[in-house]
C-alpha cells in the first residue's frame, strides 16, 4: 500500500503506474491545514473522473474527531473508493465512522456503500483493544499498523531493530488472522535504505502480515520482493495442486506427495502460495497446474 499525497495531482495521476497493489490517497498527515479543502476536492474529482486501472484505491481521511474528518467522510461516501483508512483507530472512532456510513445508507434508501474500512492502529490503546476494534464494524477488512505514532504514544524511541514495536506487530498480525482480515505492516521510513527495507519486509511477512505500507514509490518493488514466496516453495505448491488434481481425477480422497500425506491445510496453503506467485508474475496463470513451471 503506497501513500500518495492527496494534494499532488501529478502523483495521483501516476498512482496506478507505480507498481503498488493499492494506493493510499492521503488527506491527513501529507496535507497541511491550509490545503485540507483543496486536497479533498482534488481526491473527490480524481475518484470521479480518473481510472486507477487495477490498482485498489484507499483514501486516508482525517481523524473523525477533527473538523476535517466528517467532511472527508461525507465527500468520500459520494465517490466511494475501495477502502477508507481510518486514522487513530480506536473503538469509539470506528463506531463513529460506522454510524455515519449507516446513516448515509439509510438516507439513500438502504443502498449499500461499497467502500470497505481499514483501521489505522497507531496508539497503545489501539493495539491493546485491536480485537474490540475489529468487532466494532462489519466493514473492517484490514488493519494498517502505524509504528511511528504508536512509539510516540508509548513515549519510546524508534530503532532500526524495531524491538519496541515487536509486541504490537505480533498482536496486530495475530488479531487480523483471528478475524480473517488483512494485516498491513508499518512503513519503513528510511527511504534510501533498501537493504534495511528488504529485511524489514521479510520480517513482517514472517510475522504473518499480508502486506506493508510504502511511503515512497521506490519502496514498492523491494516490498514485493520481501513478500515474494520462495521459488522452491512455489514449485512445491504447484506440485501439490497437480497431485490433488490427479487424485481427484482418480477419485481418491486422500493422497500423498514425496511420501508425505497431503491434507486440507497443506492444500489451502498451496493455493494461497500459487495465487500470490501468480500476482507477482512468478508463474503464469495459464501454466498453473498444467505444466507447473515457473516463468
Amino acid at each position: 500500500m503506497l501513500f500518495v499525497p492527496g494534494n499532488n495531482p501529478g502523483m495521483i495521476q501516476s498512482a496506478s503506474v507505480l507498481g503498488a497493489d493499492c494506493v493510499i490517497l492521503d488527506l491527513e498527515d501529507a496535507v497541511s491545514l491550509s490545503e485540507k479543502d483543496s486536497a479533498r476536492k482534488l481526491v473527490t474529482k480524481a475518484l470521479r473522473s480518473w481510472s486507477f486501472k487495477s490498482t485498489e484505491v484507499t483514501v486516508r481521511i482525517n481523524p473523525i474527531t477533527t473538523v476535517y474528518g466528517p467532511l472527508d467522510l461525507e465527500a468520500m461516501l459520494e465517490v466511494q473508493p475501495d477502502i477508507l483508512l481510518i486514522p487513530k483507530a480506536e473503538v469509539a472512532s470506528i463506531q463513529a465512522v460506522e454510524s455515519r456510513i449507516s446513516a448515509f445508507e439509510a438516507a439513500r434508501g438502504g443502498e449499500a456503500v461499497r467502500t470497505k474500512l481499514f483501521a489505522l492502529i497507531e496508539s497503545a490503546a489501539g493495539v491493546e483493544y485491536v480485537h474490540e476494534i475489529l468487532e466494532s464494524s462489519p466493514r473492517l477488512e484490514g488493519v494498517l499498523f502505524g509504528g511511528e505514532d504508536y512509539t510516540s504514544d508509548m513515549g519510546v524511541a524508534r530503532t532500526m531493530g524495531g524491538m519496541e514495536i515487536e509486541y504490537a506487530r505480533n498482536k496486530v498480525a495475530v488479531a487480523c488472522k483471528v478475524h480473517g482480515v488483512d494485516a498491513v505492516d508499518t512503513p519503513f521510513t528510511d527511504v534510501d535504505n533498501h537493504e534495511g527495507l528488504l529485511a524489514d519486509a521479510r520480517k513482517a511477512k514472517a510475522m504473518g502480515f499480508t502486506g506493508k505500507a510504502a511511503i515512497n514509490p521506490r519502496q514498492v518493488g523491494i516490498i514485493h520482493k520481501g513478500f515474494a514466496p520462495d521459488p522452491v516453495e512455489v514449485r512445491y505448491a504447484l506440485r501439490v495442486l497437480e497431485a490433488m488434481e490427479e487424485a481427484e481425477a482418480e477419485g481418491k480422497g486422500v493422497f500423498s506427495l514425496d511420501g508425505k500425506m497431503v491434507d486440507a491445510p497443506i492444500i489451502q496453503r498451496a493455493r494461497q502460495m500459487v495465487a500470490l506467485a501468480e500476482k507477482l508474475g512468478m508463474v503464469k496463470a495459464s501454466n498453473v497446474s498444467r505444466e507447473g513451471g515457473l516463468v
Partner: protein
C-alpha cells in the same frame, strides 16, 4: 474500480499539416521524403573533391592567431564555415572565430555546426547583422534556436541528422569552405585528439567529416603538445593550420561530472516496462547491442537491462552513441564487449575512452551515414528514444516544442530509429500538463515507419506494422494498447491542446538523413 471508457473525439475543423512546397526561397528545390529507405541501397554518393593545397616540406602550420588563420584561409562573403559540438555548452571556439570574422566585415556566411547550444547566443546578433544568413545543424537549443524560430535568419535553417550531416558534407550537398576544429590537444602539425588537455572532451567523432572534406581545415587548441601528438583521432594529413588560444572551452559546460539515473518513480516505472519489452522482443541474448541517450529515464532502462543481463549471464556485443559513465560501468563489468563512441557525455566516459582499448572511436559517418557502405546504427538491436510529441502514425517530433519554437532536433534520433531492429520511444504520457501523444505532431523529425514501439507510464503501444512484436509482447503477458487509446487517455487528462497558428514563412527545413525533406518549420504567429 473507477474505470471510465475513453473515446477519441473527432478533431473538428483541425487540418492536417500543409503539403510541402516544391521550392523554398533560400533553400532551393524540395525533394520530398519518400520513405526511410527509398534512397538507400541504390548507389553511393560521390565524394566531393577538395579545393586544397598539399603541404611542402618545411612549411609551418602553426599560426599566431585566428585572424591569421582567416587571412590564410581567405575567408570571404558567402562561404560555409563548419564547427563541431564536442565542447557542447562550454564551447568558446565558435564565438571566438565568429567574432574575428565579423570584425572583417565578411557577410552572408553559412554555418554548418553539428549542434548549437545556449552558449552560442552571440550568433543572434550576427544573424541580425547579415553576417550569418544560413545555418545547417542537427540540433539547436537556446537563444539561437529561438531567433531562428522568429525568422531572424535570412535563409531557412537546415535541420539535419547526425548521419545526414556527414553524408551531406561528403557528397557536396553541404560543401564546407573552412572547418574550424576545436581540439583539446593538438601538435603543431595538426595531429589532434580530445583526451588530454584542460578541455578534454573525449571522442571527436562529429568533426571527422569536416576534417576530411573541407577545403581548409583549421585546428584550434588550448593544449599544444609536442609532435607527434598521440592518439591522433584527426591526423596531420587533413589539417592546414593550427592556432593556439588561451581557452577553447569551459570544462563545466563540456562534460557533466556525473550522469545519474532518474529518481523519479514514474521514470523508473517506464524504464522497468521498457526493459520488459526488450526482454519480450527476444533480442536480449548474447551479442545484444544497444544505444540510449544520457537522459535519466534512458539510463534507468540501461540499469534495468544490466540486472537482466547479469541474471541471465548475457554478454552484449556493443553499446553505441554518446557514451556515459553508466555504459562504461557495463563495459567494465563485462556486460558488453565493446563501446562505440561518437561523443563522451561525462568525465568517466572521457577517461575510459582514453584508457580502455575496448572503448572504440566512431566518427559520425561510421555511426549513422545512410549512404555509406554500412553504418553502426544498422547493427543496433535496440534503440531507446525520447519524444516531445508522437502522433497516431508514430511520427516523432524532437525538433519543436509545444509552442512551435525550435528547441532541439534529430541528432541521431532518425538515424538510430531507421537502423535499429527495435526502435523504442520511452516517455511519460503527459509532461508538464501537455499530452505527448498527439493527433499530429507539430513537426515530423523521425518518420513513424521507423518507430516500432511507444512505452509510456500508462501503457505500451506498438506500431501496427510490427504485428510480430505485438505477438511477442502479448505472449510474454505484456498488455499492448492502441496508440489511439493512449491519445484518448492523455487528452482525458489534459484536454485537447489548441492548435498553434503559424505564418507561411518557413524558418527551417527538416531534412531526413538521406537529404530529402521530411517537414518544414514555419514561423509562429
Amino acid at each position: 474500480m473507477h474505470g471510465i471508457e475513453f473515446e477519441i473525439t473527432p478533431a473538428s475543423g483541425k487540418t492536417r499539416r500543409q503539403p510541402l512546397p516544391e521550392y523554398i526561397e533560400g533553400y532551393g528545390e524540395v525533394r520530398a521524403f519518400e520513405g526511410a529507405f527509398a534512397n538507400v541501397g541504390v548507389g553511393i554518393s560521390d565524394h566531393r573533391p577538395r579545393r586544397s593545397k598539399s603541404v611542402r616540406p618545411g612549411q609551418t602550420k602553426l599560426l599566431a592567431s585566428i585572424e591569421e588563420a582567416l587571412d590564410r584561409a581567405k575567408v570571404q562573403d558567402g562561404m560555409t564555415l563548419s564547427f563541431h559540438h564536442h565542447l557542447r555548452n562550454g564551447d568558446h571556439v565558435l564565438n571566438l572565430v565568429m567574432e574575428a570574422v565579423a570584425l572583417r566585415g565578411v557577410r552572408d556566411l553559412t554555418l554548418a555546426v553539428s549542434s548549437i547550444f545556449p552558449v552560442h547566443e552571440p550568433l543572434v546578433a550576427l544573424m541580425d547583422a547579415g553576417v550569418v544568413t544560413g545555418l545547417a545543424t542537427n540540433y539547436m537549443s537556446g537563444p539561437v534556436a529561438k531567433a531562428v524560430s522568429q525568422g531572424r535568419l535570412k535563409k531557412p535553417a537546415v535541420m539535419m541528422t547526425h548521419g545526414g550531416r556527414p553524408r551531406a558534407i561528403e557528397c557536396g550537398d553541404l560543401p564546407v569552405d573552412i572547418a574550424f576544429i576545436a581540439a583539446p590537444c593538438s601538435d603543431p602539425y595538426g595531429n589532434c585528439n580530445g583526451v588530454s588537455g584542460k578541455s578534454a572532451c573525449g571522442a571527436l567523432g562529429y568533426a571527422v567529416a569536416d576534417a576530411q572534406y573541407a577545403d581548409v581545415v583549421v585546428v584550434v587548441t588550448d593544449h599544444l603538445a609536442a609532435y607527434p601528438a598521440s592518439p591522433a583521432e584527426i591526423t596531420q594529413t587533413m589539417v592546414d593550420y593550427v592556432v593556439e588560444v588561451p581557452s577553447i572551452g569551459d570544462p563545466q559546460g563540456i562534460v557533466s561530472g556525473t550522469t545519474r539515473i532518474t529518481r523519479d518513480p514514474v521514470g523508473l516505472a517506464i524504464a522497468h516496462k521498457a526493459a520488459q519489452v526488450i526482454q519480450a522482443s527476444g533480442l536480449l541474448e548474447d551479442g545484444f547491442s544497444f544505444q540510449t541517450g544520457a537522459g535519466g529515464t534512458s539510463l534507468a532502462v540501461a540499469a534495468e537491462l544490466k540486472n537482466m543481463m547479469k541474471e541471465a549471464g548475457i554478454v552484449g556485443s556493443f553499446a553505441a552513441g554518446g557514451i556515459t559513465g553508466y555504459l562504461v560501468d557495463m563495459l567494465e563489468e563485462g556486460l558488453f564487449r565493446n563501446l562505440l563512441d561518437v561523443q563522451c557525455f561525462d568525465l568517466r566516459a572521457v577517461e575510459s575512452y582514453r584508457d580502455n582499448p575496448r572503448h572504440l572511436p566512431m566518427d559520425a559517418s561510421m555511426y549513422a551515414n545512410p549512404f555509406s557502405k554500412g553504418a553502426v546504427v544498422n547493427q543496433l538491436d535496440v534503440m531507446i528514444l525520447g519524444a516531445t510529441e508522437i502522433d497516431l502514425d508514430f511520427n516523432v517530433n524532437v525538433t519543436t516544442g509545444s509552442d512551435g519554437t525550435i528547441m532541439g532536433g534529430s541528432g541521431g534520433h532518425s538515424d538510430t530509429a531507421a537502423g535499429a531492429k527495435l526502435a523504442m520511444v520511452v516517455t511519460q504520457l503527459v509532461k508538464a500538463r501537455l499530452p505527448i501523444v498527439r493527433r499530429h505532431v507539430t513537426t515530423i523529425t523521425t518518420p513513424g515507419e521507423t518507430v516500432d514501439v511507444l512505452v509510456t507510464d500508462h501503457g505500451i503501444a506498438v506500431n501496427p506494422a510490427r504485428q510480430d512484436l505485438i505477438a511477442s509482447l502479448e505472449a510474454s503477458g505484456l498488455e499492448v494498447v492502441s496508440i489511439e487509446a493512449l491519445l484518448a487517455l492523455a487528452e482525458s487528462m489534459t484536454g485537447i491542446p489548441d492548435e498553434i497558428t503559424f505564418s507561411d514563412d518557413i524558418v527551417a527545413v527538416v531534412e531526413y538523413r538521406d537529404g530529402t525533406v521530411v517537414d518544414v518549420v514555419r514561423r509562429t504567429k
